[in-house]
């Protein structure tokens, strides 16, 4: 990987990090377990690595933005996540922020 490619990759990761959190919070207004959440995001062209998504869900839960429960589905125990009440509030604020940034960048461009 060249220096320019490496730089682009680092900046891309930095840009994606916040956006992925927002996308996950948005998608979890409906209940999902890890794999179906990943598929749902991928269906909307937002691919996330397993090693990024699953730990992210844990962190968001520790931060109180998500709630989770173990439940059996298709003869297999799965952990289902859903946006918590605090999560809904913060998601609303983040969405406003993201829209404002998006509008600003669009106006600059």
């Amino acid at each position: 990987m060249t220096i320019a490619e490496n730089l682009f990759e680092n900046l891309r990761m930095e840009l994606r990090r916040g956006c992925l959190t927002l996308a996950v919070l948005a998608q979890l207004r409906q209940e999902h377990y890890g794999y179906t959440l990943r598929k749902a995001l991928a269906d909307r062209s937002l691919e996330i690595d397993e090693s990024t998504l699953y730990p992210l869900l844990r962190r968001l839960e520790v931060q109180g933005l998500l709630t989770s429960e173990w439940r059996e589905e298709d003869k297999r125990n799965k952990r289902f996540y859903h946006l918590s009440r605090d999560g809904e509030q913060i998601f609303g604020q983040l969405l406003e922020e993201w829209q404002a940034i998006n509008a600003s960048i669009n106006s600059i461009l």
Binding site: Y33, G34, Y35, T36, R38, K39, D49, E50, S51, T52, Y54, P55, R58, R59, V62, R76, N77, K78, R79
Partner: protein
């Protein structure tokens, strides 16, 4: 599925023990669902090679497990600026304290190049120990702050407490015709003064460093220095030490860009003390005979001439220093007067 079991087992080994089972159960459910999906899509079981490729794509077990850890760094971005500042400050002051300690130790014990070399060779050890201790303290703070964020509110708000008016005054530009010094220049000056101090401390037991081969003639000659030289010597050592401390404090406070008039005046004033000590000696006996009864007749005349010459030189030096000091005070007073006058307009 044997490969998946082995993979999950490897991940588990790198997870915090109290969360291992929960995380692995969730990861297993997700990966098995994904695995089955892949097989359904292909309409056949995955080959070992395909399963390996898939797991390789997910990532090495240690890396996957690391993502689940709350803290993935030793010192985080909030604490890092404070850590970096403390580290630099600690290393700087420890080096100063260590250097002075070594210099004093070398001077108090029998001074030798070997003792000095030993002190210099221990510098990396001192630096590494200091850096490691500071890093360890901050790593512990980071660890606690990550796990108990509510108990360390000051860390997040410490940068908010500063006030712009508390900043040091702006350094003057080169309007007065004096080029500002770089930090490297100022540090080099401190190192040079420090080397001077080491040289001074070696002097009593190694006159060779001052006189070269002439030191041998000194011990064989019938002359010796008067006791006042010892007082003068320690005055000069103290003055050099004072200069090092002054410069270090200036460096610490970021005032290295120009040598202050105050510093020049204080050094010039203190420099008068050893000169005054020398001039106040009775009958100007700076050099005496080791055995006056034996050598007075032979060297008495020459000794008088040498002592008179030294006295005259010291008198001249004292006068020059006093004039320089007065000149400095005059310039300083004039500057103050001009500033006050400008402020009143």
């Amino acid at each position: 599925m044997d490969l998946l079991d082995r993979y999950l087992q490897a991940v588990k080994k790198h997870l915090p023990w109290h969360r291992q089972d929960d995380i692995i159960a969730e990861l297993r459910a997700n990966l098995e669902a994904q695995f089955e999906d892949k097989e359904t899509g292909l309409g056949r079981p995955l080959t070992t090679g395909e399963a390996e490729d898939w797991l390789r794509q997910i990532g090495p077990p240690r890396q996957v497990a690391a993502r689940y850890k709350l803290q993935q760094y030793l010192i985080g971005p909030v604490l890092f600026p404070t850590y970096w500042f403390v580290l630099r400050t600690a290393v700087f002051w420890v080096m100063i304290a260590y250097s002075v300690g070594v210099a004093v130790q070398v001077a108090v014990r029998t001074p030798s190049w070997a003792a000095l070399l030993e002190g210099v060779l221990r510098v990396p050890e001192v630096l590494l120990t200091t850096a490691a201790s500071v890093t360890l303290i901050f790593a512990v703070i980071e660890y606690i702050a990550t796990r108990y964020p509510g108990r360390w509110p000051a860390l997040a708000t410490s940068s908010v407490d500063w006030t712009p008016s508390a900043l040091p005054p702006a350094e003057k530009d080169s309007a007065q015709g004096e080029k500002p010094r770089s930090r490297a220049h100022a540090v080099a000056a401190v190192i040079m003064i420090f080397l001077c101090l080491v040289w001074l401390l070696l002097l009593p037991h190694h006159p060779y460093v001052l006189l070269g081969p002439g030191a041998a003639y000194l011990s064989a000659s019938p002359f010796q220095g008067a006791p006042v030289w010892i007082q003068v010597y320690w005055c000069v050592v103290a003055l050099t030490l004072f200069q090092i401390i002054w410069r270090c404090i200036a460096l610490y406070h970021g005032r290295w860009q120009r040598q202050r008039t105050a510093e020049r005046m204080v050094i010039a004033a203190l420099g008068l003390i050893p000169l005054w000590l020398m001039l106040s000696i009775g009958d100007h006996a700076y050099i005496t005979l080791k055995d006056p009864a034996l050598d007075q007749l032979r060297y008495g005349g020459a000794l008088d001439s040498i002592n008179k010459s030294i006295h005259l030189s010291l008198l001249l030096l004292f006068a020059i220093n006093v004039l320089q000091l007065l000149w400095g005070i005059g310039r300083r007073s004039l500057d103050c007067y001009r500033k006050r006058a400008a402020a009143m307009q």
